[in-house]
Subunit: 234 residues, 2 copies
């Protein structure tokens, strides 16, 4: 499988600008105007047409032909024909809820396992994991099952940060992930700070970006993962 | 119904110290050594026995006899006999998951509707609402349904804050609540900052604490709620 799983979309440079080199690597070798199925369903306060236009502009240099699934007459056929599946961020629960009720989870997983490339950021990175249980998002709708696409064998926590507002008595991110790891001691979790991402190419896993990620497994102290090739985590 | 729903348990003063006057009001008039059923199930990294000891010490001045449900031979009978139901914070998904699989949601709701008093903080405040969809917690386990106890007709967001770590590209709390309100435009949400709580006495609702809360309804701008009596929100 060929995946690019990004922590985030935005930076001071603009939408997806920081990820352009990694996105070019992801789509390298595809014919011009290859079809990319865009999944806008994580958008809640962002209108899906406006979201599609934003992403189409951000991906203009790739030459991909972006087809948003909410406008597709036959979304399953659109997915099956797509060279790339693009899953935008937003609310992970909304994303999973919409894909499940539309019956699109299996078609996407099948397409990626058959060679379709996968680009996801934030909620789109959570979706590629075994479950969405390491999302940071608010559970605004019940997705009726937390299972994700299971394209990788580990969990991702996007927007990973050690920062904590002064005086705040809620849990830190590391505490939240420690809770997950307490209930799921055998499942690795990669905390991806802003600006970082994971590139999957078959059996090769590479951390992309300007700073280390964190690896949480069970009750062991988190390990720093330096940018570059990683041992397959699971 | 008689409820005290607190944003948080800890402060520089110690565990539940900031809430002592409101807790004394909640239990006023109860006979000495009245039974309080303690629900420790939101604890994940915190052992339930240790959690019980912590809360028993914090509530020692009330004279309540704290009975933890994980040690009760007959939890349903313990709930039915309790003068107070005490629901501690931690992870809201774990709390709801454990209560549902043990069949304790309806017994608790029935007891409170029949006159049992309810004290909950953080996850315990989320649980009293129609759903847990405005928790801040990580969805570390699927509770197989997001419905809560429905003791109040509005949602609570505990640990409410406008703070946002610099450089962080994830959603602000207000953005997360705007997403909830977009999908649930008729459901009010009260954002309870640290140190605040809501006291329910029959048809009377009072905001307790040193600072205003926020009321989110639909796409309207959030309203400040000053401490003191509130119009019933729903």
């Amino acid at each position: 499988m060929t995946l690019l799983l990004l922590s985030n979309s935005t930076s001071d440079a603009g939408y997806l600008v920081h990820a352009q080199p990694a996105i070019r690597d992801l789509v390298a070798g595809l014919p011009p105007a290859s079809a990319a199925a865009f999944v806008p369903f994580a958008g809640v306060t962002r209108d899906w047409d406006a979201y599609t236009a934003l992403v189409a502009a951000a991906l203009a240099d790739t030459g991909l032909d972006l087809v948003p699934l909410h406008r597709a007459d036959d979304p399953v056929a659109t997915i099956a024909a797509a060279a790339v599946i693009v899953v935008g961020g937003g609310n992970t629960f909304r994303l999973l809820h919409e894909l499940r009720r539309r019956g699109l989870l299996d078609p996407i997983a099948r397409r990626v396992r058959a060679g379709g490339r996968y680009l996801g950021w934030s909620a789109g990175a959570n979706l590629a994991c075994p479950t969405i249980s390491t999302t940071n998002d608010m559970p605004i709708v019940d997705p009726e099952g937390f299972s994700g696409l299971g394209l990788v064998g580990f969990q991702i926590n996007p927007h990973y940060t050690d920062a904590h507002p002064p005086g705040h008595r809620g849990e830190t991110r590391a505490q939240r992930l420690a809770e997950f790891c307490t209930l799921n001691p055998a499942m690795p979790v990669v905390g991806l700070p802003e600006g970082t991402g994971l590139a999957v190419r078959g059996a090769t896993l590479t951390l992309i970006g300007p700073q280390p990620a964190r690896l949480f497994v069970g009750t062991a102290p988190p390990r720093l993962l330096a940018p570059g090739p990683l041992e397959m985590i699971a």
